[in-house]
């Protein structure tokens, strides 16, 4: 058995979260720009035979929509997108995310790209999986400098969904609508190493297990059929993780 790449573990972990039987069913999952790991998790489920619709926004040609970029937001507004992914330059104890920047508004210390559709998607989509590979005290903070999208809303505000979990390069946290709970830690990490790198509050139950490895079957799919689907959209990622390039794939196909 070959070494499991950290990205492969993250992909399989996210795939399992998508299937969580206790959550709102994920029939239609949308994946935003520059999100190869969430995209791969969706492909892994699809290639495993799960009946799931994936809408990948990062495709220059083809792609799921015919109404332009607006259609994703219209679908979400109607409740037709079941699950989405969000990241953030900062994420805090209340699952608020900051994609604006640090320092004074609008990010005079360090400016992130901006909020994209987060302020809308976080509230209109039933489930959001938060994903951020960097797990440090500067990313997971007690309180974000600015809120691009808020994790909890006032009672009067119509809100269809919230964060289900936060997946990082070190561990998985579940979110219950009020706070994070440590759910599993990746190989190489300890309860202490998580604690040392996390400035946000979270609960640590007594029996935190290790994040499961991908199965052999999953690894086979990831390195084969999933990578095939990802090559044209995420060439850099496929090269880095699986050592495969679009050029070779095209040669092999001819």
């Amino acid at each position: 058995m070959t070494t499991i790449a950290p990205q492969e573990r993250l992909i399989a972990t996210i795939a399992r979260l998508i299937l969580d039987p206790s959550a709102h069913p994920a029939r239609h999952v949308a994946v935003g720009m520059a999100s190869p790991i969430p995209a791969a998790a969706c492909w892994l489920l699809k290639k495993s035979g799960h009946d799931i619709r994936i809408s990948l926004l990062q495709r220059q040609t083809g792609g799921p929509f015919s109404e332009g970029g607006r259609e994703l937001f219209d679908l979400a507004g109607q409740g037709r997108i079941d699950l989405f992914f969000l990241g953030g330059g900062q994420i805090d104890s209340e699952a608020n995310i900051n994609m604006i920047g640090t320092g004074e508004w609008p990010g005079t210390e360090f400016r992130f790209p901006g909020s994209f559709g987060s302020a809308f998607m976080y509230m209109t989509v039933p489930r959001t999986i938060l994903f951020r590979e960097e797990h440090t005290n500067r990313v997971l903070v007690e309180r974000v400098d600015h809120i691009s999208a808020n994790g909890i809303s006032d009672r009067a505000v119509i809100r269809r969904g919230r964060a289900q979990a936060l997946v990082t390069g070190r561990c998985v946290f579940n979110f219950d609508g009020n706070r994070f709970t440590l759910a599993s830690i990746h190989p190489g990490e300890t309860i202490e190493s998580i604690d040392a790198n996390t400035a946000m509050s979270y609960l640590t139950p007594p029996d935190v297990g290790m994040t499961l490895d991908p199965t052999e079957a999953e690894l086979g799919l990831l390195r084969g059929a999933v990578c095939d689907e990802m090559l044209s959209t995420y060439p850099d990622f496929c090269q880095r993780v699986w050592g495969r390039s679009l050029q070779e794939a095209e040669k092999a196909a001819n």
Partner: protein, 274 residues
């Protein structure tokens, strides 16, 4: 509508104009943006529909921009636009942060000729808290308290984009990028570059018609081959990712950006012009 040259289009957009631009993956008019920089445009008020990319970063770096209303300023995999980030740090531009569907909605309101349009979500975001021009009201159709966001119509002075083709009546084909249609309909005038002029009437062709923006909205057209470069154009050519990655690196420093500008913008007048 006879095609004009690129510089004539650039000359139509006055200093201070409220100018809407598509993101990098949606027919970005980069040749026209280079022409705007060469004509030394000033104080543009840019709108990213719904995000901003390479062209906006160039314009900011070249000192052409006063304000940017956008949901993100990004070079995709290459990260935050470096000149945008530097300008925010320096306080040399005013950023009006938005969120993607809010931009679409505000343009839809303008397209429809109504003063506002509602949008779900957003309540509780600091994006909203920094928008005194937005309005929260009680949904009058709800029995219970139901606050909802209203966005005022957003009517750009100009929108600019790069389409595949145009016909002699000024109809342009943007294919599935229909958010460009909303942007174009909402704007007072549109200046458009295209790869080519095609014979016949695009609106008479039932296959092409669904991807057409009618000439009624178009002020002027210029031919600019590979006019989206380094962005891509539908299935015609791919984005030049290597070039954008290089730019993202070089443009981090003022000097690097100046060098880029000299090499790829100031000295490409003949290359960009049709």
């Amino acid at each position: 509508m006879a095609p004009q040259n690129l510089d004539a289009l650039a000359a139509m957009i006055p200093d201070g104009a409220l100018l809407a631009l598509p993101p990098d993956d949606s027919l970005a008019p980069n040749a026209l943006i280079r022409a705007l920089i060469r004509r030394n445009v000033r104080n543009l008020r840019l709108i990213g529909v719904p995000t901003s990319g390479f062209g906006t970063d160039l314009l900011i770096g070249a000192g052409c921009v006063a304000t940017v209303e956008t949901s993100a300023a990004t070079l995709g995999e290459a990260g935050t636009g470096p000149r945008f980030a530097a300008a925010v740090r320096a306080g040399s531009i005013r950023v009006i942060d938005a969120t993607c569907p809010a931009i679409h909605t505000a343009l839809q309101a303008a397209e429809k000729g109504v003063p506002f349009m509602p949008l779900r979500g957003v309540l509780g975001s600091d994006v909203m808290n920094h928008r005194p021009d937005w309005h929260v009201m009680a949904n009058p159709f709800a029995a219970d308290d139901d606050p909802i966001l209203l966005l005022p119509a957003l009517t750009p002075d100009f929108a600019a984009f790069h389409a595949s083709c145009a016909d002699s009546e000024g109809n342009v084909w943007v294919g599935r990028r229909r958010e460009l249609a909303t942007m174009a309909h909402a704007s007072r005038a549109n200046v458009v570059t295209v790869e080519r002029i095609v014979p016949g009437r695009l609106l008479d062709d039932e296959t092409m018609a669904p991807g057409v923006i009618s000439g009624v909205y178009i002020r002027a057209i210029a031919v600019a081959e590979r006019g989206a470069w380094p962005g891509g154009l539908l299935d015609e050519y791919e984005a030049d990712r290597a070039h954008i990655a290089d730019y993202a690196r070089i443009a981090r420093s003022d000097g690097g950006f100046a060098e880029y500008l000299a090499r790829h913008v100031q000295h490409t007048a003949n290359q960009d012009a049709a």
